[in-house]
Symmetry: C2
Subunit: 193 residues, 2 copies
């Protein structure tokens, strides 16, 4: 998605080989028009995937996921990050390790918002190690749903998340795949037309 | 907003005198079309308020705030809930007490996303005690901004938040003001036409 890549080059900033700062338009200050275009792009890419609902993980995935759900005319479900293991009735939970916070959290969702047999699209802002996406997949499949795809606004493809998900047979769409980062350097993966 | 009130009566559920559950369309499973209409309603109500940006508090305010910002053609800023007092350079922080979690958190925002002199609209899903909104107001005013209004999708007007904000001179718009709750009973405030 050229518009997004250009925006990352203009307003994003690579702090080092690992960290890409995009908090001026994606996950702290958010550009709603860009999010609408991101939603349109995901909806177009997954138009043939018969998506019943979009799932995301709080909180920076909510903006792109909401716009994708709007364009696909399906509900959006926000999986919550709970610090504890307090498990209520009708709740699905799985432990996820956050590399950003260097601590685990309990990814949590009410089972009734993942009805059996539904085709679910996971949307998140970043795909890096894939821990959050894998946790979401475990919960969706535990609920009897089908993971019809994973969409990431940005993927750091030099980290194992994207390859692992594709290796496990999941369809992954990335709007801005980043091949390499270094201080003030951002390189995207060349994509086939 | 009749559409929203009807949805609350149909799909919401009062658990007791304090708790209104709307997690099937507002803050866990989210109806994107309803959020779009909520955004349009806030944009119409604040059309004369010369809004420069919309601010919300993660994470359940993000969906209505994003749609409001889209309709007003302004950026949206997500204030973060930090557990600790780790204060980075260029970061504004204030302590807010969460009655839901019965614990304080540090409401945090990068100062550069609240430029001086800007007219800011705060949007959140719920207004109850007004702690989160008051914290957001403190940060916006500390940054040299003007709080041009507070918009809540739902307000529990029997709790002090709405009255306190109005008493302090802030403009408050509530799409569904709830006058009274009791087990399986929801009563809205009558509004002047």
């Amino acid at each position: 998605m050229e518009l997004l890549k250009n925006r990352i080059l203009t307003d994003g900033r690579a702090l080092n080989e690992q960290v890409l700062l995009v908090d001026s338009f994606l996950n702290h200050q958010v550009d709603p028009e860009l999010m609408e275009q991101v939603g349109e792009e995901f909806a177009a890419r997954f138009a043939d995937a018969k998506i019943d609902r979009v799932v995301t993980i709080e909180s920076s995935g909510i903006a792109p996921a909401l716009m994708t759900a709007l364009k696909l005319h399906v509900p959006m479900v926000i999986m919550k990050k709970q610090p504890s293991r307090i498990l209520k009735e009708d709740t699905l939970q799985t432990e996820v390790f956050s590399f950003t916070k260097n601590a685990p959290f309990q990814l949590t969702v009410k089972a009734k918002f993942l009805p059996k047999g539904q085709r679910v699209l996971i949307i998140d802002d970043f795909l890096a190690n894939g821990e959050a996406a894998s946790g979401a997949i475990r919960l969706i499949e535990k609920a009897g749903g089908v993971v019809a795809g994973v969409g990431a606004v940005i993927a750091k493809v030099f980290q194992p998340g994207m390859a692992n998900l594709k290796g496990a047979g999941y369809r992954v769409e990335v709007l801005a795949p980043v091949r390499r980062l270094d201080k003030d350097q951002i390189e995207f993966l060349e994509e086939k037309a």
